[in-house]
C-alpha cells in the first residue's frame, strides 16, 4: 500500500465572498521509499497540499491516507500521532538560537522517552556526522553558515528515523552549491534509512534527485506528470 494516498482532496481558504478554492480533486500517491518532487507555479497550492498531508491543516473533502491514517476530517490526536512520524524541513531552518547543533537535533528525540539523555546525544551526534557536521556539534546556529544550518535542520528531521519526510523549498534560502549538497545529503539518508520524501520546490537545479516529478497547476495534478529519467 502507498505511504501517501490522496484521492479527490479539495481545499478552500476562507468562507463566503472571501472563499478561495485552492485544491480541486487532487489525486496522487507516493510509494514507500520514493523521492517525489512536487512542483508547479506560485500559488498553485503546493504548500497547502503539503500541510494537509503533514497533518498540520485539516481538509474536509476527499481522502488523504498518510502512514495508514486517514487525515481528512481527522481528530487533532490522530494528526499529532501522524506528525510524530514525519520529518519536516522548512524553507527556514527554524533552529533554536540558544541551543547548539546537537541540542537542536536532540529536540526531535525528546518526545521519545525510551531514550536516555546519553543515547539522544549519541544519535544526534551520529546524524550530524552523517550530514558532515561532525566538527560542529557544539556550535550554535549563529556560528554556522546558511547551508550548515539547513543541514542541522535536515539532521533534526531525520534523526527520529521518520518514514516520511516533507520538505517545502528546502533550498530556497541557500546558494546553488549548498542547496545541492543539502538535497543530496537528504537523498542519501532517505535511501539509507528507507525514508520516503515528498519535496516541494521551484528549484529546477535539484529536480535530478527525484524518482518522480508531479506538477500541480491551479489546484490539480496535471496529467503530463511523468517519471523523471
Amino acid at each position: 500500500m502507498a505511504l501517501v494516498d490522496v484521492k479527490g482532496v479539495s481545499f478552500a481558504y476562507g468562507a463566503g465572498e472571501f472563499r478561495r478554492q485552492v485544491l480541486n480533486n487532487v489525486d496522487f500517491s507516493v510509494d514507500r521509499g520514493e523521492i517525489v518532487i512536487l512542483t508547479g507555479p506560485s500559488g498553485s497550492g503546493k504548500t497547502t497540499l503539503l500541510t494537509i498531508l503533514g497533518g498540520l491543516r485539516l481538509a474536509v473533502t476527499g481522502s488523504a491516507v498518510v502512514l495508514g491514517r486517514e487525515l481528512v476530517n481527522s481528530d487533532e490526536n490522530v494528526r499529532m500521532g501522524v506528525r510524530r512520524q514525519i520529518g519536516y524541513i522548512f524553507q527556514q531552518h527554524n533552529l533554536f538560537w540558544p541551543l547548539t547543533a546537537v541540542e537542536n537535533v536532540c529536540m526531535a528525540l525528546e518526545l521519545d522517552d525510551r531514550l536516555s539523555e546519553a543515547e539522544r546525544r549519541q544519535r544526534a551526534g551520529e546524524m550530524l556526522t552523517e550530514v558532515g557536521l561532525a566538527d560542529h556539534l557544539d556550535r550554535r546556529p549563529k556560528q554556522l553558515s546558511g547551508g550548515q544550518r539547513q543541514r542541522v535542520a535536515i539532521a533534526r528531521a531525520l534523526v527520529s528515523r521518520p518514514k516520511l519526510v516533507l520538505a517545502d523549498e528546502p533550498t530556497a534560502s541557500l546558494d546553488k552549491a549548498s542547496g545541492h549538497e543539502a538535497v543530496n545529503i537528504l537523498k542519501r539518508l532517505a535511501k539509507d534509512y528507507g525514508a520516503t520524501i515528498l519535496l516541494v520546490t521551484h528549484d529546477y537545479r535539484i529536480l535530478d534527485i527525484a524518482d518522480r516529478i508531479i506538477t500541480l497547476e491551479d489546484g490539480a495534478i496535471t496529467p503530463q506528470s511523468v517519471p523523471s529519467s
Binding site: 500541510t51 506528525r83 510524530r84 519536516y88 522548512f90 527554524n94 540558544p98 541551543l99 518526545l111 523549498e169
Partner: protein, 389 residues
C-alpha cells in the same frame, strides 16, 4: 511522553532561551527586582508603622486598662475622672489601681537648645506600670523632684542624651521646666511621637502645671492573683459606666494597632504602592515574555509540527516566568534587607524581616510573574505550523 521529562525539558529549554540574550535577561530581572523591592518597602513601612504604633502599649503591664470611650489612640487620650478609676477599688478582685498621665511636651536639646516634641509619661512608680528593667531599677531615683528618664530609642534630634549624661551634663528643659535626666530606657518612636520621657506623676504635674490631678489619661487595674479577668472586666465596665472602656492587655495592643489600620488611611496608601509595584513588574515581565514568544514563533511552530503539544510550549513560557520570579526576587530580597537596615538607621523605626513576610512577598511576585506568563502564553496561539512552510 511521561510528565516528568516534559516538565524538565520545558524548564531546560526555557532556561536556555532566557539566559541566551543577556540584556533581555537583565532587563526582565530588574523589572522583577524593582517590584520585589517596592513591595518589601511598602510592607516594611506598613509593618513598622503598626509595630511602632504599639511600642508604648506593648510595654504596659496591668491586668486591665481603663480608657475614656472617646479615646481613639493612646497618643491622643481623652481625659477622664480619676474618681471613675477609683470606683474599681470597690470590686473584691481589684488589688490596686494606678492612674497614668500622658501628654506631648517640648524637650530641649542640651547642645542645640532646639525644642522638639516628645511624649511624657507620668505615673506612680510604685506600680511598675511600664515593664522595663531600666525604669524599674530607677524607680526610686525618679521619685525625686524634677527628674526623668529618657528613651534612647528616640530620634537623634533630641541630642546624644546618654553620652551627655555620662559626661555629667544631665539638666535640660521639658516644657520650659528644668529637669534632670537621671538615666535612660528603651521604648521606641512612633509615627505620633519622636521620643519618650518617663517620670513620676508628681513630676508630670510640675511639667504640665495646667493639668489637673484628678483628670487622668489611662487607668491601670491590678487584680488579685487567680481572679477571673473576663468577669472582672465585665464588672468594672458596669461599675464605671458607659463613658469608659476596659481592655485586657491584648485588647489594648490591638486597639492601638487598629487605630492605625482603620482610622488612618495608611493601609490604603501602602496597599496602593504594593499594587502599583506589582502591576509595573507584571507589565515588564509580560513585555519581555511576549517579545520572546514572538521572536521564536517559527521555532515553537516547528516543535508543534514535530508533535510537541501546546501544553509543552505553555510550560516553556511559564518556566521562564518562574525563573524570572526566582531571580528577581532573590536579588530583590537582598537589596531589601540592605534597605531595611538603612531605614532602621535613618528613621529609628524597627523594620523586621520575618520569614512570613519573605514568603508573602514571594507569593506576590510568583503570582505576578505567573500572570504575566499566562498572558504571554496567549501569543503562542500564533505559532501555527501550517503557516510555517
Amino acid at each position: 511522553m511521561t510528565p516528568f521529562p516534559t516538565f524538565f525539558f520545558a524548564a531546560r529549554l526555557a532556561w536556555r532561551q532566557l539566559t541566551y540574550d543577556k540584556p533581555k535577561l537583565i532587563a526582565a530581572t530588574l523589572g522583577v527586582l524593582f517590584a520585589s523591592v517596592l513591595v518589601f518597602m511598602q510592607l516594611g513601612f506598613l509593618d513598622s508603622l503598626y509595630a511602632s504604633a504599639v511600642s508604648a502599649p506593648i510595654k504596659m503591664r496591668a491586668d486591665l486598662f481603663v480608657l475614656h470611650k472617646q479615646t481613639e489612640a493612646l497618643w491622643r487620650p481623652v481625659q477622664f475622672e480619676r474618681s471613675a478609676l477609683m470606683r474599681a477599688l470597690g470590686h473584691p478582685d481589684v488589688r490596686a489601681v494606678y492612674p497614668m498621665y500622658v501628654s506631648l511636651g517640648q524637650f530641649k536639646n542640651m547642645d542645640t537648645h532646639i525644642q522638639r516634641t516628645l511624649m511624657v509619661y507620668g505615673y506612680d512608680l510604685n506600680g511598675d506600670l511600664i515593664d522595663d528593667v531600666d525604669i524599674c531599677a530607677r524607680a526610686d531615683d525618679l521619685k525625686r523632684q524634677d527628674v526623668a528618664l529618657f528613651d534612647i530609642a528616640s530620634r537623634p534630634e533630641f541630642g546624644p542624651v546618654s553620652e551627655q549624661i555620662s559626661k555629667g551634663r544631665d539638666v535640660t528643659e521639658v516644657n520650659g521646666r528644668r529637669i534632670k535626666i537621671v538615666g535612660t530606657f528603651r521604648m521606641g518612636t512612633t509615627f505620633a511621637a519622636d521620643g519618650n520621657v518617663v517620670t513620676s506623676d508628681l513630676n508630670f504635674h510640675r511639667i504640665f502645671p495646667q493639668r489637673a490631678f484628678d483628670k487622668i489619661d489611662l487607668g491601670f487595674v491590678l487584680l488579685n492573683p487567680g481572679s477571673d479577668v473576663r468577669k472582672a472586666q465585665a464588672d468594672l465596665l458596669a461599675l464605671m459606666g458607659q463613658e469608659m472602656r476596659v481592655f485586657d492587655y491584648n485588647e489594648l495592643v490591638e486597639f492601638e494597632k487598629g487605630y492605625w489600620e482603620n482610622s488612618a488611611p495608611m493601609g490604603f496608601i501602602f496597599g496602593f504602592g504594593v499594587v502599583m509595584g506589582l502591576v509595573v513588574g507584571m507589565v515588564i515581565v509580560y513585555q519581555i515574555l511576549f517579545t520572546d514568544v514572538s521572536n521564536n514563533l517559527s521555532q515553537y511552530a516547528t516543535l508543534k509540527a514535530m508533535g510537541y503539544s501546546q501544553f509543552y510550549l505553555q510550560l516553556v513560557v511559564l518556566s521562564s516566568a518562574i525563573y524570572l520570579a526566582l531571580l528577581g526576587f532573590a536579588l530583590g530580597l537582598g537589596l531589601s534587607v540592605a534597605l531595611y537596615r538603612l531605614a532602621e538607621q535613618e528613621i529609628f523605626i524597627p523594620f523586621p524581616m520575618p520569614l512570613g513576610k519573605i514568603a508573602t512577598v514571594f507569593a506576590f511576585i510568583l503570582t505576578m510573574c505567573s500572570l504575566a506568563g499566562a498572558l504571554a502564553i496567549r501569543r503562542l496561539k500564533a505559532a501555527n505550523p501550517a503557516d510555517m512552510f
